[in-house]
Symmetry: C2
């Protein structure tokens, strides 16, 4: 079946709920009128359905192929053509800086497009996805010369970019990296070392690949404070000479088989320092934070596709009769969508997907405000929220995106397990998103270990101000009481962390994952209340898309009745602390 972009939901969220219809009032986003945003949504939806989706299954079946002779990688049939159309449509340039050929549109739109691309071919989306991070790192931290040399071609999509962080012995703990950067006479550096799991490290979509590589300068400390970032092109931009940065092979993976996951050997390749020496981690985090938000959209994108596929199946598949009497009396049985337990699986997907979309676009909107709003205080507040919510978006959307893809697969029964249907691929592809760009456990540690402590707790205070401000301003907010309970739980959990984590950081580690989940559920609850509030107002006024507005009211109810009560469980988990986690000694694990 053909993908159908969630255009109505996007317009409802962006314009009617989040206020992105006024983005064009900000000077930086003067072009981003509602008409233009709407046109982008429609065009991206068409591209995803017509150009990208047809490459998805082929990509999975063929995978990428490595030729050890030439050290080159062949992507699956159709990828090159689809990528070319993506570039041709200017999609790589969407929110990129105007001075280097970008369109300078709001980042929220990038989120929107990311979701659609990932719904229809996650593997293909990875190539421009990583490039985007490289653009940001160079734009934020690179010298004028580096920007001049690389940005235009990366933004146009003529070249692609990579992030080269992980080495065989270290992923999470980048302080351990061994890749070396030795100064050359000409101001460049000779990069030597091996990187693994490099997405798009080598491929045949474009003529040049620009690697952003973490490496250590001579004498640098053996910690993350001794890491520097380098730009290492496959071909040197001035001479066209081949730089010795070679692909040594591909990983064989559970999914995203169309995405070339490379071992990269840097054999004295020429690189140029990006930013200051030993400050590579900060430049890396520019890429990383952006990548984390994108990975969140991957989780959502796959879940949206799983929802559409399983919904279509549930409407077609005839099996057993409705418990309240035949709904398809002329057929041999009723479509399985009549069964409450099947609807439970569909509703869970729909309600959580829309909630996750709201959370992501709320964060995207704050990101736009954080760079474009004229008021310093608004910008700072928005940036606080973005920083706080980035790990939440990454972890929750990928965990629940994966769970929802699994629920979609479950709706199909045995068909879902066969390769005749796309669900099993969605599950396999989606599995990686919980792992890469920092596992979801690392996201939770980032939230409780770093983000809560930043600026003396100002980030989480900004969130509470948002939540309680909403309750104050909306005495008749839908599901107000349930939302209050959840906000209260989040406050209690935050207080628990404030009391326990400083004297025992392992308490923070024990609480991290349930705390992140509690925050996600609460913020999504807040957004479901807002969506239901808008739906009520519009229905009362006889405005808008009636079925969509009606669906929002039912979905909000489903959310507060069936999903939100998890918050109590999470609070009790947090509250019980680390003891039962930390008590085992070596002899207990396999006694």
């Amino acid at each position: 079946m053909q993908y159908q972009a969630p255009a109505n939901d996007l317009r409802f969220l962006l314009f009617d709920v989040l206020g992105a219809d006024t983005l064009h009032e900000l000077e930086k986003y003067a072009d981003a009128t509602p008409d233009l945003i709407s046109a982008v949504i429609d065009e991206a939806g068409k591209l995803a359905a017509e150009v990208i989706q047809p490459t998805n299954q082929t990509g999975d079946r063929q995978g990428c192929h490595y030729d050890p002779e030439t050290k080159s990688v062949k992507t699956p049939d159709g990828f090159k053509e689809a990528y070319a159309k993506f570039v041709e449509g200017g999609w790589t340039a969407l929110d990129a800086p105007i001075e280097f050929g970008g369109q300078g549109l709001p980042h929220t739109l990038k989120f929107v497009v990311d979701e659609m691309v990932c719904s229809t071919n996650l593997s293909l989306g990875m190539y421009p996805g990583l490039t985007h991070g490289a653009i940001s790192a160079l734009h934020t931290h690179g010298s004028y010369e580096l920007k001049q040399t690389y940005l235009e071609k990366l933004i146009s999509g003529e070249w692609t970019g990579t992030m080269c962080l992980t080495e065989p012995h270290c992923g999470t703990d980048l302080g351990l990296i061994r890749t070396k950067a030795t100064p050359n006479d000409d101001g460049s550096y000779a990069i030597e070392g091996t990187k693994i799991w490099i997405t798009g490290g080598e491929h045949d979509l474009v003529d040049n690949i620009v690697h952003l590589v973490l490496a250590k300068l001579p004498g640098a400390p053996d910690t993350t404070k001794g890491i520097s970032l380098f730009v290492v092109p496959k071909f040197l931009p001035d001479s066209g000479e081949r730089n010795p940065a070679f692909c040594g092979g591909l990983e064989h993976k559970m999914g995203i088989k169309g995405s070339a996951t490379c071992v990269m050997n840097f054999e004295g390749a020429k690189g140029w320092l990006v930013g200051e020496p030993n400050k590579g981690m900060s430049a890396m985090f520019t890429m990383m934070n952006e990548a984390r938000l994108m990975v969140g959209m991957q989780g959502l994108g796959l879940a949206e596709m799983a929802y559409q596929e399983s919904l279509a199946f549930a409407k077609e598949r005839l099996q057993s009769r409705s418990l309240s009497g035949p709904k398809n009396p002329d057929g041999p049985a009723d479509p399985i969508i009549v069964h409450p337990d099947v609807r439970r699986m569909l509703m869970r997907q729909k309600v959580l997907n829309e909630g996750m979309r709201a959370l992501a676009l709320f964060t995207g909107h704050q990101l736009d405000l954080s760079v474009a709003h004229p008021d310093d205080a608004v910008r700072e507040n928005a940036d606080d929220l973005v920083q706080l919510l980035t790990p939440v978006v990454k972890a929750f959307l990928t965990d629940e995106g994966y769970n929802n893809a699994n629920w979609g697969q479950q709706v199909l029964g045995g068909s879902g397990f066969t390769q005749d249907w796309p669900l099993e691929q969605l599950v396999r592809d989606g599995r990686i998103a919980r792992i890469y760009e920092g596992t979801n456990g690392i996201q939770a540690m980032d939230l409780v270990g770093r983000k809560l402590a930043l600026k003396g707790g100002q980030l989480v205070r900004a969130l509470f101000a948002e939540l309680t401000g909403y309750l104050k301003d909306n005495p008749d907010a839908p599901h107000r009481e349930e939302l209050k309970v959840s906000i209260k739980s989040l406050e209690q959990a935050t207080l628990w962390l404030a009391q326990n984590a400083p004297k025992d950081p392992e308490q923070a580690g024990a609480a991290a994952s349930p705390y992140l989940r509690l925050m996600a559920l609460t913020v999504i609850g807040y957004l479901w209340s807002r969506m239901a509030g808008v739906a009520h107002r519009q229905l009362d006024a006889g405005e808008g898309n009636t079925p969509l507005l009606e669906s929002k009211l039912v979905s909000a109810r489903y959310y507060f009745e069936k999903l939100m009560p998890e918050a109590d469980w999470l609070l009790r988990d947090i509250d019980s602390g680390k003891d039962s986690l930390m008590a085992f000694e070596d002899q207990h694990w396999m006694a």
Copy 2:
């Protein structure tokens, strides 16, 4: 790494907790002394680790191959040899009836062996697994002649069996089947029709395959009351003639690639009626209920392997320092098992796996009592519990077995996504267990729609008697208060169903899945309390395996602190009823 059978946990559970050490006092199980049970555990563990496990990865990589010329199926390298050793060791005959060459041992032991086989190669385990169901159906419902003809060779493993239920247009709703059985002159029937998803429908492990096929007699009603069961051998036992029951192809699946999942075409194949005409569903349920318990063990088996693999990884992989100071000061970093969030994933696996094993073996023990105890009332009570808990074991162990395999994969980070490690295969293989032998949604409907109503509610009363009897007899039961709360929640939910389901069966459908989960968590809580109680007593008495007993106390605490509180959430979900599930009309799903 090599699989290590959970022999200590099994002995603790069977002998010290469940009382299987007295099984040999029952006449039927006179041979099943603790020594013999212990020897079976050890021998099965050796077989699994040494013979079965080495075939697992090959099986996945090679898969099964179909030859359209000969309509034959080749299993992966090594399967034939491993199956031969399985047969040689008498494992196919373990709990089979003695009069046809079986060993007549307790069914609990079959559960134990199933877990180990599925830990080490689920695909291979499917061949004898399905045979076992065919044996039971023939033994319970077949005529003397049919038993004489088939049972000995099925029990010895010389032949294998299948269950042929599903057709392209029907799986859950078997009333719709179209396969026809037309009487021949000689008392046999000509079977015509197509069956799909037939495990082991065709393969090269043995010389003959015995299909148990659901089909309709001429003029039979168009419902499940018109279904009859037939035995259809690949080769006719008397003449050796090839019966026209041909494999038409194999499914391409997400996992269990070493298990031949066949399309079977019955082209007038000779079959013999098993049991009475039109009573095929009851015979089918003999196979099905047994298969459901076995599938539960599959979920557990895969989860146990995932635990062992991820534990070994977490002890080896060095990454970052412990939050409470270096634990491996001479190394570059600490093993990741020091981190609370990693321990959370490992503890979840261990505690839930051991709880699921306790639930399964409790059920297995009741199954043994239900067939072997001299007291009618004990037998009936045990049978009530087995019937009630069968869907619970199937659904909960496969849902949580899958989730735990995913947590194991998560512990490995990026490595878990590559095929260099076995985790991704465990996840892919485990996915099917939530689907086949009745999806887990169907299990939940079986529980609330059928099992709760049977005998006027006597089954669930038997469970409550067990639970409250335990609390009464054990005033100092560990975690008594938390357990009481959970039992109370289950009582409330049961009452809610009793009040709402009769007047509106859709309320039962809406509550089914969370109710099944609530029952599973409660019974497992009861068993964790019992395990902790035994551990306390043995530690006080200075008996037993100290590390194991200590681990049980910590694990019970983890269970009641971090997992059991989900029960409140489930109760609230149930309590909120069907409204938010059933409100959508057609236009709302994709508004």
